[in-house]
């Protein structure tokens, strides 16, 4: 039996679009921020929380989350930790050089459903990167949402990302921003301790608060426990998960959590949908 491909309308899934690096900032020894511009300044048309697959010829591909909000027009941002082959090479690139882009892929935060709600952002380490797309979306559509509470934790003050923006979050009267580091330094005046130490003191309108959590695997369990003791309903919790990815379109199998493909069903998950997936966290 032959197959008529027309009925399936198959697509070319693996060809990248060549985009240009139009701005770079080095935040830490390991992390750099890039502005990426697609041909003709076309918008990526992503949702906060989605990712794309970036490639450099001769090196390979890697899935990286978008850290700008859709309200940024003509270009988008990524923030990349130098941790693997592709990111190592990416860190050597300069403004004007080109990089392959496929996407956007996966689910984003359902921001339309968040309208009118208080938004509680909980970001650990590099987890603040995908959350920045949601934070900026809320900031750029500020009257659509209630309170914006940002909890950010890092290992030490040197590893804090988006330093210029952290100051703005801190100074903005409509943002309740708290930051903590696991280990302080002589100059550090702020909180020390893990991110969960910031949760008990929060005064939350439980029925009207959405929590968005992104961080290292170890963080989720403790943050979820802390939110549970605050009695925040599971239905109000969203989280984004990381997995190995090779295709971004639900074929290569690498990102599977039980029967869920992180590249299609995630990376942003509604907590009730994954709390019974034993491999999730």
């Amino acid at each position: 039996m032959t197959l008529s491909t027309q009925e399936h309308n198959p697509r070319e899934l693996y060809y990248p679009e060549m985009a240009e690096i139009t701005a770079i900032k080095q935040y830490t020894e390991l992390e750099k921020w890039y502005e990426i511009t697609l041909p003709g300044g076309r918008d990526l048309e992503h949702q906060p929380g989605q990712f794309a697959i970036f490639s450099l010829f001769g090196i390979g591909e890697a899935a990286i989350s978008i850290c700008s909000a859709p309200s940024k027009k003509g270009a988008f941002d990524i923030c990349v930790r130098k941790v693997g082959m592709l990111t190592e090479k990416l860190h050597q690139l300069e403004i004007g050089q080109k990089i392959g882009v496929r996407g956007p892929f996966g689910t984003g935060f359902p921001v339309a459903d968040f309208k009118g709600k208080d938004i509680l952002i909980i970001g650990g380490g590099i987890g603040i990167v995908p959350l920045r797309s949601l934070i900026n979306h809320v900031i750029d559509n500020r009257d659509d949402f209630g309170r914006l509470v940002i909890l950010y934790g890092a290992k030490n003050p040197q590893e804090l990302l988006f330093p210029d923006e952290l100051q703005k979050w801190n100074d903005d009267p409509r943002i309740e921003y708290q930051v903590t580091v696991d280990q302080g330094s002589p100059e550090w005046q702020g909180n020390t301790g893990v991110i969960t130490t910031l949760i008990p003191g929060l005064d939350l309108d439980l029925d009207n608060t959405i929590a968005a959590i992104v961080g290292p695997p170890i963080m989720y369990k403790f943050v979820l426990m802390a939110l549970k003791s605050k009695r925040l309903p599971d239905e109000n919790i969203y989280m984004s998960l990381e997995r190995r990815m090779k295709c971004g379109v639900g074929k290569c199998g690498h990102c599977q959590i039980n029967d869920s493909y992180v590249c299609l069903d995630g990376p942003v998950y509604h907590f009730p949908d994954i709390k019974n997936l034993p491999e999730a966290i």
Binding site: M1, T2, L3, G84, C247, Q256, P278
Partner: protein, 349 residues
């Protein structure tokens, strides 16, 4: 359905008739006791009586290595790769391997249809052949009989002097047209091909067994013997996971982005940059492999995603049998979750 008889001595002529209409791919001997599906160059070398080929015909639709694109490092540009979809006739396919192709058709058209696979599936004709189940086949336990014709255009059912030819589709009729060395269809006695290897429960109960097996000690037991080599993935006709790798020419000017078969049994399969490995233990990887065949896709489609070819067990370097694993899980399920007074588990066949 039209039926004919094909005598053994006419098979080479039948192969030549097929060769006049397209590329013919059929089983050949490989080494002393293996078989391989390859392009036919000499009609006399085609083997229709065989237990199983080392690889299923999956390799023609999802090649072990496939070039996704070519690039120039000096220009930082790429060129697309043409996907060939010439007329191909697959001769001598067993029912379980045909079923595996139909399952892959689902996987590659589900949610995000992929042109690479689906284009290769165009212009294919399948001629099935019956087989005698050996110690490893257990297709009947996953709902596939030796004579299952779904997906085939023509089916050849072995009898003493040759093959009963069943012409199943218009495409099959077109293929057989003009071949005159066919006799009237034989009167065949009921075939009674028995499978020695059996899953204890009817396959429609296995998702229920899997539901209760997440924490089973069986996974750790299997992991003690498993060496994590990934052979079971490599030979499975319904495995389709892949890795994507950039390869650079020695000139350092050009290269290609290629995809290779990958296997969820390999240690690095779920590892990410930075050191996290989301399926670190062999036990968790074995469980994932078995759940991929009997739970995850099965929950969505209602069908087991294993076709009972027996390859994973036949070629396992540590003699691990998927049937044994399923039966041990079923035993546990029976002991722990079925009341002793309940009727005995339904046996198949």
């Amino acid at each position: 359905m039209k039926r004919y008889n094909l005598l053994l001595q006419n098979i080479p002529d039948f192969v030549k008739h097929l060769q006049a209409q397209g590329e013919v791919l059929a089983p050949h001997t490989k080494g002393d006791n293996s078989f391989s599906f390859d392009k036919v160059t000499d009609a006399n070398n085609v083997i229709l009586d065989y237990n199983r080929t080392l690889q299923s015909i999956r390799k023609f639709f999802l090649p072990p290595t496939e070039r996704l694109l070519n690039y120039s490092l000096t220009e930082n540009t790429f060129t697309k790769v043409e996907i060939e979809n010439n007329q191909r006739i697959f001769l001598g396919v067993h029912s379980y391997d045909m079923q595996a192709v139909l399952k892959l058709d689902f996987n590659f058209s589900d949610r995000t249809p992929e042109v690479n696979y689906l284009k290769r599936r165009e212009n294919c004709t399948f001629i099935g052949v019956s087989f005698e189940p050996d110690d490893f086949h257990f297709s009947r336990s996953v709902g596939i009989t030796v004579e299952a014709t779904e997906g085939f255009d023509i089916f050849l059912n072995r009898h003493e002097n040759g093959y009963e030819v069943q012409v199943l589709t218009e495409r099959g009729e077109g293929i057989i047209k003009g071949f005159n060395a066919l006799e009237n269809a034989p009167e065949l006695a009921e075939t009674n091909r028995q499978f020695k290897n059996k899953i204890k429960f009817n396959h429609n109960r296995l998702p229920e067994v899997m539901e209760q097996s997440w924490k089973s000690p069986v996974w750790d037991e299997v992991a003690k013997r498993c060496v994590g080599c990934g052979t079971c993935n490599l030979v499975c006709p319904t495995c389709y996971c892949f890795n994507v790798v950039d390869n650079v020419d020695l000139s350092l000017k050009d290269g290609s982005r290629d995809r290779h078969w990958d296997g969820c049994m390999l240690n690095s399969f779920a590892a990410v940059a930075g050191g996290e490995n989301f399926r670190e233990t062999l036990a968790s990887r074995q469980r994932h492999r078995i759940y991929r065949k009997f739970k995850y896709i099965t929950d969505k489609t209602g069908d087991p995603w294993c076709v009972g070819c027996g390859r994973c067990a036949a070629y396992c370097t540590a003699d691990i049998s998927i049937v044994e694993i399923i039966n041990q899980l079923s035993d546990e399920f029976e002991q722990n979750y079925l009341r002793k007074s309940a009727a005995p588990a339904e046996q198949i066949i």
